[in-house]
Subunit: 191 residues, 4 copies
């Protein structure tokens, strides 16, 4: 099976764009068909077994792109607190570069929030952060704290920034990143 069949990615991108500009609720097959200029919604259900699968494919695609941006930045850091900073900064940079993708991701995650499996992508992101906080404590770089809760706080703060940016495009993202880095660095550093 080909992950990127041309048609598939065309549909996925159309859905992402519609979600970003009009929200998940508005991203019906009909609206996607229209936005992508497809002949019929049948083309969508031909390529995706269900709406959920399409939603999942969109999220996977976004995470793929975000990961390309963020992973090397995080890997390049040599300390846990440095990796936390890299995580926040590169995530905000991704938002600056692909605001539609970032907005769509938040929309999708809030839409599939409750029902999905524990191993959903959302948790993937938080698991990475949870490990980061756990490692920081083991390395003595961070004070004692609840890694999972801090992970969710970081993600929540970033996601909220994404939402605010979607409504206020004039937002200074560079400064926003600085503030968030400062906020969490102060919160975790020992003493």
């Amino acid at each position: 099976m080909q992950v990127t069949s041309g048609r598939r990615s065309q549909i996925v991108e159309a859905m992402i764009e519609v979600i970003a500009s009009e929200g998940v609720r508005a991203a019906s097959f009909a609206r996607i068909r229209e936005h992508a200029g497809l002949s019929s919604t049948r083309l969508i259900s031909y390529h995706f077994d269900s709406r959920a699968e399409l939603l999942g494919a969109a999220l996977t695609r976004i995470i793929e792109l975000a990961s390309e941006r963020m992973s090397p930045r995080i890997a390049a850091a040599t300390t846990s607190r440095g990796r936390l900073e890299a995580y926040i900064r590169s995530n905000i940079e991704f938002l600056a570069e692909r605001p539609d993708y970032a907005v769509a991701a938040v929309e999708i995650l809030s839409a599939i929030g409750t029902p999905a499996d524990e191993d959903a992508a959302a948790d993937t992101a938080e698991q990475l952060l949870t490990r980061l906080f756990a490692d920081g404590q083991l390395a003595g770089e961070m004070r004692t704290l609840d890694a999972a809760l801090y992970a969710s706080a970081v993600r929540a703060a970033i996601d909220r920034a994404v939402t605010r940016f979607a409504r206020t495009p004039g937002l200074d993202l560079h400064r926003c990143a600085d503030e968030l880095v400062e906020l969490f660095d102060r919160a975790v550093r020992p003493e």
Copy 2:
């Protein structure tokens, strides 16, 4: 004359309960009718001009209750950092006492979030926090920071805790409150 006509509050409460357990999407008039044991959905549209109004009434009710819980606690604090702590703790306590109401509020806010009513309740909550952070800086109790961004970070962290609690009822909310208080107090204190 009673503002809350009995029927109205019955419907509002039914909607809150359905939203809390099944999500906003599932909270259709038909589902509310069923849950509240009403004779027809017409009863709902008789008391509320539109779904949006009902949603607004539900949110208002929740904010009313949350405010009853939180306001005296916040007012009792004598410092800005104390008020921040009281805000976080009393909000989490409200979540512990009325998890359905807390969950419903988050659901409703994310559902009506986009429509750009600047004066919406969501912003009201953030505005209160924004003032709190601004006052803290003026009083010299907090270091220099972006009040609005910190406000949204606090709300985002609490809202995320609400969501997590909804999925994991076993969560230790007392400890969760301690951690969040610590997180933000460290983040704001001078030096």
Copy 3:
């Protein structure tokens, strides 16, 4: 039973105004209640047994007013062709003075057109004209023609003028009356 109970006429006038500006379809009990500032639609169904009765009352009221305007003018004419001219002119004058009433009458008549009884008000107006054309022929003032068909042609032409005026308030009604008088006078005069 009092024909004009104050409340009744208030409701009737509100309905006429709503019909004139928004059409019969839009003139629902709810819309009338709103326009008249009533507390509930129940007040309407209290005073009128059905929507049809209210519609009939409105039409009766309009015809009453139109008749006040037109009857003396028609009666004052001494010939059949003079009465035809008086009919047309005074009808157009009524339109100029009470455009909302004239528009509402046309709306109501087209709404209740098909179902109603033969003795409906619509026919009343045409019957009067039919007699006028019949008398004109008997008196030798008019050539041989189908009185009923000419009656309906006159009413149709005037009603259409009403509709056009409703859409084009700038219409010169005086000239319009002149033209219609000329049209039908030429059509009926002998030779």
Copy 4:
């Protein structure tokens, strides 16, 4: 590719028939579904984006048919007054042949009349007549008159005849045509 997809025209014809016999108001999707023997009303909204579009399609279809009947007859006439006669006669003939279509057209036009689309089909018909009266005056075949007003009077008279015929099927349409031709010919001829 066929513009008229079979299903589409089946639905259009069903709607025309329902409108003719029961009025526009009664022509709901449910009633059409029933009359056409369709499996679901969804079939209607599948083929037509909205009720308005379906209404428009029905009107277009009727005008198409009426035009087939009337156009050659009008074109064959060599004088303006001859064309006026041909217009009236062929229109009444269309009424005699397809009473349901004629009735439906009048119903639809009165239903969509208000919404102020200047370029609506109604005006198209009147514009043709207006030109006819203007040409007649230029050619010296008709006396000086308000072409637009005469056009609306002709259409109003014919439409009223359609309505009357719908209620009184026994009406002698041949004689009706004779009378209307005479009426308007006398009204326009010079001297």
